[in-house]
């Protein structure tokens, strides 16, 4: 239960951060990606800000034996560059450029009571299901 409450709190804080940063406005994302047009580089500061904090915090936190509410760390350790990583990130980049939403801001925008984020999130979950079906058949090495 502690795990779930902390996830709820983190989700809320994360969501507020996304909203303040501008990531929930697809037009800003298009502006960020439109380097060859009317470029608006402001969103690069979202990544810079988040990475500065987490780069430092990660190193301090990982000195602990284990997390507060779990018996071990769940941090990925894979290092191999796989075709799935390359193809998946490419497809994501196309979708991000087309829609202006990455997964987090899409979920946050469900609260805007507009129809388009709802359609986007349903399609996104369908895309994940499609992967799940194909993966159970072909067992992709991710």
């Amino acid at each position: 239960m502690k795990n779930s409450v902390s996830a709820l709190v983190v989700g809320f804080i994360f969501s507020v951060g996304l909203g303040i940063s501008g990531m929930t406005q697809p037009q800003k994302v298009f502006g960020f990606l439109d380097i060859f047009g009317n470029w608006d580089p402001s969103l690069i500061f979202v990544m810079i800000g988040a990475i500065i904090v987490h780069f430092i915090a990660f190193r301090i936190i990982k000195k602990n034996q284990k997390p507060l509410f779990s018996n071990h760390w769940h941090v990925p350790t894979k290092n191999e560059i796989t075709p799935a990583l390359i193809i998946g990130s490419t497809l994501f980049g196309i979708g991000w450029g087309l829609g202006g939403y990455c997964p987090g801001p899409a979920i946050v925008s469900l609260a805007s009571s507009e129809i388009r984020p709802i359609i986007f999130v349903i399609s996104m979950i369908c895309g994940m299901y499609l992967f799940k079906i194909l993966d159970s058949k072909y067992k992709y090495k991710r």
């Binding site: 303040i20 501008g22 994501f92 980049g93 997964p103 996104m124």
Partner: protein, 140 residues
């Protein structure tokens, strides 16, 4: 313009704090696509926190909508097919590529993970090329 930069930085610092809190408390990375995909996929005992996390995102959205509704302005394309295809690509691509802007772009890069560095460079540069092309052919 300058205000946009400050907002982006403040939002980013808050995101960095949230992601660090998740690591400290639950020992997990905050990768949104992975959390959602896991909720479709994994054994029951690993489900609940995922739904709570998504609920937190949603409640955060309601909070933002109440206090600053213009944070949701500048919406998606009005063409529904564009929205559907974008959603499918984002859903399929993030799971195949093991992460999105949060998991690779924030958590992975902070860990100096080579996989995340490559994924992030790729999805941003492909996004740049996509917007260039979609604008030329009149989709955006």
């Amino acid at each position: 313009m300058q205000q946009d930069w400050i907002n982006a930085l403040v939002g980013g610092l808050i995101i960095g704090f949230a992601v660090s809190l998740m690591l400290y408390l639950n020992g997990r990375i905050t990768g949104i696509s992975g959390i959602i995909y896991g909720a479709l996929n994994v054994p029951k005992n690993d489900m609940r926190w995922r739904f709570f996390f998504v609920a937190g995102l949603f409640f955060g959205g309601i909070f933002l909508k109440m206090y600053k509704p213009d944070l949701f302005s500048g919406g998606l394309s009005t063409n529904m097919w564009t929205v559907v295809i974008a959603g499918l690509l984002v859903g399929f691509g993030t799971v195949l590529g093991s992460g999105c802007t949060s998991g690779h772009g924030v958590c992975g890069i902070s860990r100096l993970s080579p996989r995340s560095l490559i994924a992030t460079i790729l999805f941003i540069s492909v996004g740049v090329v996509s917007v260039f092309i979609f604008k030329r052919i009149g989709i955006l």
